[in-house]
């Protein structure tokens, strides 16, 4: 224990200077520290992933847009921007994120859907109907299947997955609704997606009814 005669106090720990008055301490025998001492050096300034990404993003998009306008072709630079944004989401929210797999899968499902739907409206034309006829049903069916498998093989994480799964199952109904509403012409992928979603939902009800009800009570408590 060291002593500060100025403050008339004992000071514990591996310090030479009084924490209060900054005068030199008279060192005693026991100088073992109670706290890990904070040692501050000059921190290395790390360049964040965000900064690098947005630098690359804006430069690439501006160059593409410039070429795009110069060549007077259709707006393919928007596709470049969309793909880069997706890469950002993929790295930031899926690869680097510490969230559990159900959140990542849900996020991917939503972002992919939004990108394709946005492209459908930007490049409006008969050649883009494949977005609703094939892409969305495939995304939702694959996502629902993965949730179904995850719940089956990682039973103890059921409560983490179920709410996201239910949202995806609801989304899986949309392509069929669009087909029945004559918005799209090709119905087979939509029906397959609907069938997969119903199958996964039924398996939840049959195997985990009690759990499902409790989970819904938890999530919707007011």
């Amino acid at each position: 224990m060291s002593r500060c005669y100025n403050c008339d106090i004992e000071v514990r720990g591996e310090v030479d200077i009084c924490p209060l008055c900054h005068n030199k301490l008279e060192r005693g025998d026991d100088t073992s520290g109670v706290f890990p001492i904070k040692k501050i050096g000059v921190p290395l300034k790390k360049i964040s992933f965000d900064k690098i990404f947005w630098f690359v993003f804006f430069n690439t998009v501006f160059v593409c847009l410039f070429i795009n306008i110069f060549l007077k072709t259709y707006y393919w630079s928007i596709v470049v921007a969309a793909v880069l944004l997706y890469v950002y989401v993929l790295i930031k929210n899926t690869i680097l994120s510490k969230s559990d797999i159900s959140k990542k899968l849900f996020f991917q499902t939503i972002v992919l859907s939004l990108i394709f739907v946005a492209m459908r409206f930007v490049f409006d034309g008969p050649q883009m109907t494949w977005v609703f006829e094939y892409v969305l049903p495939i995304i939702y069916a694959v996502s629902a299947l993965i949730y179904g498998i995850l719940i089956f093989i990682r039973v103890h994480n059921f409560h983490d997955y179920i709410i996201y799964e239910l949202f995806v199952l609801l989304l899986g109904v949309i392509p069929t609704v669009l087909y029945l509403g004559n918005v799209i012409e090709e119905g087979i992928p939509s029906f397959i997606c609907f069938f997969v979603c119903i199958l996964v939902f039924l398996s939840n009800i049959i195997f985990s009814w009690k759990f499902l009800v409790t989970e819904l009570k938890k999530r919707f408590h007011a």
Partner: protein
Amino acid sequence: MEHDVLKWIKIDNSARIYPMIYSENGQNIFRIAFEMNGAVDPVILHRAVRDVLPRYPSFKVRMKKGLFWYFFEENATLPVIFKDKDVRLDKIDFHANNNYIFRVCYHKNVISLDFNHTVTDGKGGVEFTKAVIFRYLEISGYKVCGEGLIKALDAPPSGGEIEDSFLNNYKRVPIKDIELGDILGKKGYSINGAPLEDAAIGIINGHCSVASVKAAAKKYGATVTEYLCGLFMYSIYMTNNNAKKRPIKLLIPINLRKIFNSETLRNFSFITTAIAEVKEPSLKFDYFIECVKARLANAVDPSAISKKVAGMVKLDKNMFIKLIPLPLKFIIFRSGKKIISTFRSSTAILTNPGVIDIPESMKPYVRHINMALIPTQNATLNCAVISCKDEISITFARRCNDVDIIRFFFSVMTGEGADLTLTSNYAELKDFSGATAKTKGSGENEPLL
């Protein structure tokens, strides 16, 4: 495909908005640390936590999002034991901690538990920490006996321990009588100053005999809490000229368990504010003690407390608030907090959960106990007081570089006969000649304190 239905509980009334108003980077954390006589064995500590957790179900939880509120769900895993870092009171990384809302750390011979305020308050945290330490000693082979001060691990937890005591003690009060606490009122003085480098938190802990502080308090006809609160306000007044422009507002958490005869281990306290108008020149220490006394006397009045509890619960029972979706609540509560802290900010917090009763058989193995409360962006200097084994521990946690207030505080104490021993987590490296010294072994330039 079989699995258990995990139990779940609503977050208690007072803590329900914490997850919304505090980001993960700015958690509301307090620490209770036991300094043992021997070096801590992390394996035994892990076993102790594993054994104790089932007895304390309100701690064996993880926080999850619902559509309208966060809630607690039983956590099927075990918390991780961390080696203490030099950054103290750092945010709890839920992912790294198996989603537990409290964190267990050790450093040499110190066992520390950091609690996010959402899970419990000081008193609940103390009870849980005591149980972990007791079990740690038991597994280590020491002959210790609970003596009725530690909950038996084989006894089932009582309903009272996990109840939301705010709800259970809620009595309908006419709207006109409801008190909103100290939300309304003048803006208090803010302690400003250059922040510590790396946004670190500086901790200075002082401990001395309870008797010396009691004797000093007696001179002013005050309790220990009143004396320390008064001294804290007086120190702020004496060391900051700017403090004379705005009132000094000290937040003091009041434990409601004794008043309502509750044994809950969840949050059951509310905050009262001692306000000292400091426009008059040359105010004496007595004035600040009287300010605190007057406030605390009013704060523990059962009818006044009932009105405040009613105010807190009424807000929570409001159907309109209940049905606002969680993302919208985030925006509303966070903006509300920002507005209140901008226009009604307080100066500092002093918390004193009181005397910790530990069994006589444990005392030989526990050297010191201390508590620390994270300083916030507004209250950049906080104080936590705890007493055990005839010793009182006073811990200041600060975000700012300046230690004038702490120096003044402790100098008054030593002047009144306290036999203080200090510990700091921050290497003060400016020697008496004013030159910058170097950290032992680090070879790096250190900041002046």
